[in-house]
């Protein structure tokens, strides 16, 4: 397996979706190829960042007022929708 083939398969490798032989080939390659090892490490960290990312939650007490205002707006809009 060359670097290009490794780059193409890394998400499958990180998600454990490759057949064992392919995963072994990637591991053998990155052990000997510093750029591919660095590429794998930074891609793995990127995926971890995405999985760990959090955004503001409407359930936080700090956003209770905004949530109530959104809820009221929606419930009023829903009431105005004719029943079919």
């Amino acid at each position: 397996m060359n670097c290009k083939e490794v780059f193409e398969s890394l998400s499958g490798y990180l998600d454990d979706e490759l057949i064992p032989d392919e995963a072994d080939e990637i591991e053998t390659h990155v052990e000997r190829c510093a750029p591919c090892q660095a590429f794998l490490n930074t891609l793995q960290r990127t995926v971890a960042f995405c999985r760990d990312a959090t955004v503001m939650s409407l359930t936080d007490a700090a956003h209770a007022e905004a949530r109530e205002s959104m809820k009221r707006r929606f419930v009023d809009a829903a009431k105005a929708i004719p029943k079919t």
């Binding site: 190829c33 409407l58 959104m70």
Partner: protein, 206 residues
């Protein structure tokens, strides 16, 4: 607005919406608002967009509730409506839906059959101050993704949807989901690398 309903399950909510019970709309909000709002925020990045996406999604859901066949499909159906609302906010300069970014544009340059050296920023010291910066850069990198990649990345890696669920939500062939996820991750990795190496965003990094 305190809870005035007794709805507990997706099935009960769906039944209530079908009957036109006003309390079921309140239950729909209580059960899904945080998730759909968070999804809108991750995809579009702005609070105002996220609030509008939430409102549009839930109103459309009430209006077309007859389109949902089973309570099990309710969550995916709401994500489907929200994804369409997000896509309507795509920037006009982004690449067209269906066009794929070549892998070569997202991976390091190779010269004479050898891959150029890569800065492994995953080995940089893990400091509190850096973590905030990384969070901000991640958000920027995701917002730079073309919309059809951004939706797949957010649904798969942030909302933890399966390949099959994402195909259903985005109405795309299942075999396009993981290749798009891979390109989206490569894109975000490249942008993070570029920004971490040069916060002004000036140099092109691999």
């Amino acid at each position: 607005m305190p809870h005035t309903h007794t709805y507990r399950t997706d099935e009960e909510i769906l039944e209530g919406l079908r009957r036109g019970d006003p309390a079921s709309a309140e239950a729909l909000f209580d059960h899904f608002a945080d998730r759909i709002h968070g999804f809108g925020l991750k995809v579009c990045g702005h609070g105002e967009d996220a609030r509008e996406i939430l409102h549009e999604t839930l109103v459309r859901a009430v209006r077309s509730v007859k389109d949902v066949k089973h309570a099990k499909a309710l969550t995916r159906w709401l994500y489907r409506i929200a994804s369409v609302a997000c896509a309507a906010r795509r920037r006009p300069d982004q690449i067209a839906e269906g066009r794929e970014i070549p892998i070569e544009d997202l991976t390091p340059a190779r010269r004479g059959g050898v891959t150029a050296p890569i800065h492994d920023w995953s080995l940089d010291p893990d400091e509190e101050s850096r973590r905030d910066e990384e969070k901000r850069l991640l958000k920027e990198a995701i917002l730079d993704l073309p919309m059809h990649y951004r939706l797949v990345l957010v649904l798969r890696d942030m909302e933890e949807m399966s390949e099959i669920e994402v195909a259903e939500i985005l109405q795309v062939p299942i075999q396009t989901v993981n290749p798009r996820l891979h390109r989206a991750r490569l894109f975000v990795r490249r942008e993070l690398t570029r920004r971490l190496m040069d916060p002004s965003g000036g140099t092109r990094a691999s």
